[in-house]
Amino acid sequence: MRYENLLDSLGHTPLVGLPRLSPSPEVRLWAKLEDRNPTGSVKDRAAFFMVAQAEKDGLLSPGSVILEPTSGNTGISLAMVARLRGYRLIVVMPENTSEERRQLLRMYGAEIIASPAAGGSNEAVRMAKQIAAEHPDWVMLYQYGNEANARAHYETTGPEILADLPGITHFVAGLGTTGTLMGAGRYLREHQPDVKIVAAEPRYGELVYGLRNVDEGFVPELYDESVLTSRFSVSSADALRRTRELIAAEGIFAGISAGAALHAGLGLAAKAAAAGERAGIVVLVADGGWKYLSTGAYSGTLDEAEARLEGQLWA
């Protein structure tokens, strides 16, 4: 397929069947391969929509500075869009994220401010808000609360999925900013009222939850509980195991958050099969495995990989 430029090639990612992981011909799993986006992740959709909206609102002009807290993929997507549009990008990123992300960001010309590993993304968000307050002329797109993030999925991801699988019964995706689930979830529910919208939330090692007290927790402004049917917490061990199964059974080399979504999807598939119900379950593969190679997730035994992943942000 031919496009005028890279940004025009956004979306329209393949939905591929997972015949070996599906329990029966009546209960089928499908993977939405978001690694087939311009910079290799689902975040290209949100980044493009957020920048386009900010341009429309007159917030950005050539040479503007964009500031964003991100654990990686959003930063990489924004760095690409910023480069093509002539903006400067500064990302606030937890130090416990993979080296590949840092290299990619620098390659695209982004500047990185490291936030402490303890506290994970919460701390990156807090720092970014503080820096933004000190630099009123910088534009923080703020993916956690930017309606254009969820709208990207309402206008693109959701319609693509429904067109490819009109009989969808379940949509499963990772829960971070919640933009994918909120946007695609709302669209799918409007057109298929019985569809189940299911979140797979990464459960990290203890370091990441290192808050001073529970009142310092964080819930993204975009999050609307009523869109979800259920929400599962998936351990690093389960996510890793499923990521490897995706390679072994279906040949798909995905990032670790895809393993978390698959873990939830397989649970739903088993339940449907046991109840004798038909199911069409879409699992969103947010990115490929390339950016996680240095974490050791794909080498050695599962126990070794899990130990190496301890304390790292993998989604």
Partner: protein, 92 residues
Amino acid sequence: MAIEVRIPTILRTYTDGAKQVEGTGSTLGELITDLEQRHGGLRERLVDDGGLRRFVNVYLNDEDVRFLAGLQTPVKDGDTVTVLPAVAGGAR
């Protein structure tokens, strides 16, 4: 047998540093009340007038209880309950 409850680091001051504790009850609410008898102060960190506190997530066998029946969620021996503070997710 009892119900296993996993406690996050920041709440272990109420469990003498224990990572996991055990309790009984037929619902999550009863389980938390039971825990409070041995781990005074814990209940208030988890629950307020409106139910579970905003920045606290509780999972029954990995499923968020807010999508089950909240504090009325039935629990039984052999279940695992995990308490976690709300964090900014993956933020891919």
